[in-house]
Subunit: 236 residues, 2 copies
Amino acid sequence: MARRSEGLGERPKKILKFLGEFQDKHGYSPSIREIGKHISVESTSLVDYYLNQLEEKGFIDRTDRVSRSIRILKSPVESESGVARAVRNVRETMEEMMKIPLVGRIGASLPVPMPPMEGGSFFDPESAVEISRTLLPRDKTNELFALEVDGVSMIDAMVNDGDIVIMKRANTANNGEMVAVWLEDTDETTLKYFYKEGSRVRLQPANPTMGPIFIDDPKRVRIQGKVVMVVRQFKQ
Amino acid sequence: MARRSEGLGERPKKILKFLGEFQDKHGYSPSIREIGKHISVESTSLVDYYLNQLEEKGFIDRTDRVSRSIRILKSPVESESGVARAVRNVRETMEEMMKIPLVGRIGASLPVPMPPMEGGSFFDPESAVEISRTLLPRDKTNELFALEVDGVSMIDAMVNDGDIVIMKRANTANNGEMVAVWLEDTDETTLKYFYKEGSRVRLQPANPTMGPIFIDDPKRVRIQGKVVMVVRQFKQ
DNA sequence: CTTGACATAGGACGAATGTTCAGGTATTAT
DNA sequence: ATAATACCTGAACATTCGTCCTATGTCAAG
């Protein structure tokens, strides 16, 4: 199929670099023909082709039919400087701050409320928790949602009333991950470390002084999400 | 002679302002006709005339025969724009993200390491925790420092091994605040809710199933800092 | 009043520019 | 082999765009 289905080709990369240098030097974007000249490509359509790739992959932004309207959105590391870097910094720094929707409360006797569908976000922007992205996993950050813990029923998970639990929606889990599970037997939600051991599942409390729960029938363990982070704030 | 020999006319001023706003909004310079539209001038030559004035007086720079190549060099105080604003954005956005020095580890049997003196920060920038300012108290954020919890000795404080505790240096505390205290009697550090009740001090564990500790001599309670936040991360 | 510098308008002109189409070649999956 | 997809060429087009020329209006100084 594709000669190269991964990342960026040599030429788009070179274009991206050139865009940064040119904008740095001149203060405005190069025209399509100027770009072509730099990468030794006569045809304007080919440059347009590369630019479309860059746009699709989110590296640049263009305005239809407007000359010299290319804006660099991100750049794959590599050398860049001056204004271009300053602009990039603004954008990236903004993105560093994740706004995670606070979708509800969680308690032992309550099922886990589900987050809003991705895309159509209907949650109140006021009810959001801002977390630095450096503290969060890199991938699928849009599947994160936050819950406030209701009641003291999760003290065995070392989670207190009022704590904010940041979760990632998931139906399965890997060994060692902390998950929110709904236990059919006892009809309650708890936070436990998940371990699949042969055909049975071991649910280990965070509190090391407490023993694990074993569930022989994996179907009786309903994983509602993986716990990414717990934040506890204290009044000052 | 001239009707106006002083500074800039109304229209050039308006153009200058528009240039900044447009570049801010779109990331590239407006065309001459777009400028004309904004100041209700049909004729492109008149806009060109104004632009030449601005160029002569050193407010802008243009490249001959290149579209959208106007760069703003300076702006008469008023509405800052373009790069100036970008720089300001960087600064403000960066400030939103608190970099809190991770100065060491804390355990029941260890005293609380003290944070570096404010001003002369000598800590490794790698060992820092970034927290969104919206989650932190507004005042004296430069007195914050972070500690990683070492060992399971603080489970009674609902704090686990590996948790990150963000503290504010303090020698005193108000009722209801969580503090790190050094207890002379048992010679250990713990995290407890602080309550001064008459002449004695009540230290209440976070774990609601555990009872408080009473200390009759307030001098035997050495407050090392107030706990602002506890963050617990899970591997994904 | 005349003159001349400044201000404004309209538009022509050619060059610069983004877009599109029609077709061609290589690479890979089936 | 064949079809699908990616990669590339060339050229034509329709605008957009900057520049420049002409004409008219305004106002203050001589």
